[in-house]
């Protein structure tokens, strides 16, 4: 039987009894006469009279039960209004609901305030995240519990972190790199919101082979403030300083090599001058020999300084190159005429090969002369007697450039040295006694061709058979930009 039916029957019975007893209790009627009849009649009448009331109450209870069930099930159907209820139920309910309404107003106001706070904090967080994301350097942020809260793309890449799955994982679990983990743990353990630390550490990228050495990084870690806790977490930023180190090492190597190269001829000059002053070379022939050595070593010093200055000017981008229409065949003839006396001493023949076309490009005539001179001089230096040097000039339509090749029948370049011949101060150890050089000639050639003219230079060689240097100079400066791209 439904609970509603029970309510109906019991309320009818209670009301019937009340209707009978009430007048008697109030003394309105005298002692009951024929009580059985009267009781029966009154009960029936009262019961009938209470029926609508009981029905109303039952309906309200059923409605409220259904609504409660729907609400409990998460259904958001409209809740029946108080006015839809009967008057007796409505009175009590209205009072309860008014109180609830007041409470709800307070709660709503609180929620609105919280929502604004969350929105502000979300905004701050978004700004913070965007700023860290824009950093090219790896950055990670932890919360007050030492859990990863933010991993930018660079950090995910370097440390092999998953930007979703690793969030909320503790630093101890998620960070594999010992030094980074230690820095973050130290920051947290400091308990100070103003903790700052900087360290130089070696970090091996997650995708590097396990035996690869780590790259030098500068790590900066700082704790974050929090209004209620001692610290709100920490931020760690890494900066790759390996390249910086390399450059600074290259610079110091350059200075060291340059000083060695400068001191060597200076040493000879100093020693020979002192010998002359001390009268240790008395016969005129020895004296002449000494003066010749001093002159040639002073020239070597001058060439060395010129080359160093030219290279550093090009590297610093302060070389002003002229753009003139240069006829490459004429330029080659000029350079060959300068080298020819040297070649004749070793019975080396120099030949220029070209077609009948015009081979010209926009170039700096003096610099091009330097390139041809350096290549020809090397060819003659490292080619044994009776050898051949050939200069070939062609138009290369694919790259829109004049292609010049200087080939010799000389010693050739060992395979392990071929990648280094354009390096500063590089000299092939075994050839040091074959010929003198500054170790800067080919570096300058490469700078003039590639940096100044936007061209390209390559070398091929076979040991014992000879070497072939080929360089392209674009017809126009626009062409140079295309060649570079």
């Amino acid at each position: 039987m439904k609970p509603g039916t029970w309510i109906l029957i019991s309320s009818a019975a209670v009301c019937g009894a009340a209707a009978y007893v009430a007048p008697w209790l109030l003394g309105v009627v005298g002692a009951p006469a024929r009580p059985v009849f009267v009781v029966g009649l009154a009960a029936v009448a009262a019961g009938l009279g209470m029926l609508p009331v009981a029905w109303l109450l039952n309906r309200d209870a059923a409605r409220m039960t259904r609504t409660a069930a729907r609400l409990a099930a998460g259904d958001d159907a409209p809740v029946p209004s108080v006015s839809a209820l009967s008057r007796p139920a409505a009175g009590a309910l209205r009072r309860v609901m008014e109180q609830a309404d007041q409470d709800a107003q307070v709660v709503m106001a609180r929620m609105r305030e919280l929502e604004i706070r969350v929105r502000i904090s979300d905004g701050d967080r978004a700004r913070f995240e965007t700023a860290l994301e824009a950093l090219p350097d790896p950055a990670i942020v932890t919360n007050g519990y030492g859990e990863l809260q933010l991993i930018n793309a660079a950090a995910a890449g370097l440390l092999g972190l998953d930007r979703e799955a690793d969030l909320s994982r503790s630093v101890v679990e998620a960070i594999g790199d010992e030094s980074i983990r230690r820095l973050l743990i130290e920051a947290h353990e400091s308990g100070s919101a103003t903790h700052r630390a900087r360290a130089e550490i070696a970090v091996r990228a997650a995708d590097a082979p396990p035996d690869a050495p780590g790259r030098a990084h500068e790590a900066i870690v700082a704790t974050l403030p929090d209004p209620t806790e001692p610290i709100g977490g920490a931020v760690l930023i890494l900066r790759d300083i390996a390249r910086e180190r390399e450059i600074s090492q290259m610079k110091s190597e350059f200075v060291s090599k340059a000083s060695h190269e400068l001191r060597t001829p200076l040493s000879s000059i100093n020693a020979y001058v002192e010998m002359l002053l001390d009268g240790e070379a008395e016969d005129p022939e020895a004296q002449r020999e000494f003066y010749t050595v001093i002159k040639s070593e002073a020239d070597r010093l001058g060439r060395l300084i010129d080359n160093m200055l030219n290279i550093s000017r090009i590297e610093a981008g302060i070389t002003k190159a002229k753009h003139e229409d240069v006829d490459f065949v004429k330029a080659a003839q000029h350079a060959v005429s300068v080298i020819e006396p040297q070649a004749r001493l070793k019975d080396i023949s120099i030949r220029i090969k070209s077609g009948s076309l015009l081979y010209s490009a926009e170039a700096d005539r003096d610099m091009l002369h330097q390139v041809l001179l350096n290549l020809l001089s090397n060819a003659v230096k490292y080619t044994p007697e009776n050898g051949r040097v050939t200069v070939t000039i062609e138009n290369d339509e694919t790259t829109g450039s004049v292609m010049t090749t200087v080939a010799d029948t000389g010693l050739g370049i060992p395979p392990d040295a071929i990648d280094h011949v354009f390096d500063k101060f590089y000299r092939i150890e075994n050839y040091k006694r074959v010929a003198k050089g500054t170790g800067l000639g080919l570096n300058l050639v490469k700078h003039i061709v590639e940096t100044v003219h936007g061209g390209q230079i390559t070398v091929t060689s076979e040991l014992g058979m000879g070497s072939k240097f080929t360089f392209l100079i674009p017809y126009t400066r626009d062409g140079a930009r295309r060649l570079a791209a």
Partner: protein, 134 residues
């Protein structure tokens, strides 16, 4: 010291330097041998056991320091004092000095007069050291 002039080996890949140093030493009465790199220097030292070696630091095949280390490995050459010429402007570490018999470092540019003075000092004390080592 006997009347026989001391023999000095000069090792440098710069021909001008070996030439001028040789001349200075010969003028001072020494017998001079020359070599153009560390390897040649080692061979000449083993073959002739000179009384003193003047060597350059930076040379092809074998550096002056490496040559000095190798000389220490042979009984005949272990006690030969060396004067090291260097253009790099760097000093040898105490370890380098301890494991070789380098007595003096001279940086380039150097004066032949100074060098001769150092040679005389080394040959004076060098013989005592060699006797101790033996």
């Amino acid at each position: 010291m006997t009347d026989t002039p001391a023999t000095i080996l000069v090792v440098d890949d710069e021909a001008h330097i070996t030439r001028v140093v040789s001349l200075k030493l010969r003028n001072a009465g020494y017998t001079v041998l020359t070599a153009a790199d560390g390897e040649e220097g080692l061979e000449a030292a083993l073959q002739h056991t000179p009384d003193l070696i003047i060597t350059d630091m930076q040379m092809p095949y074998l550096t002056g320091l490496e040559m000095a280390r190798r000389l220490r490995e042979h009984r005949a050459t272990a006690g030969i004092p060396l004067i090291m010429l260097t253009a790099r402007g760097f000093g040898l570490t105490p370890d380098d000095m301890a494991e070789t018999n380098i007595k003096k470092m001279m940086s380039k540019p150097f004066g032949p007069r100074d060098l001769l003075r150092q040679v005389e000092v080394c040959l004076g004390g060098g013989e005592d050291e060699a006797a101790e080592a033996a």
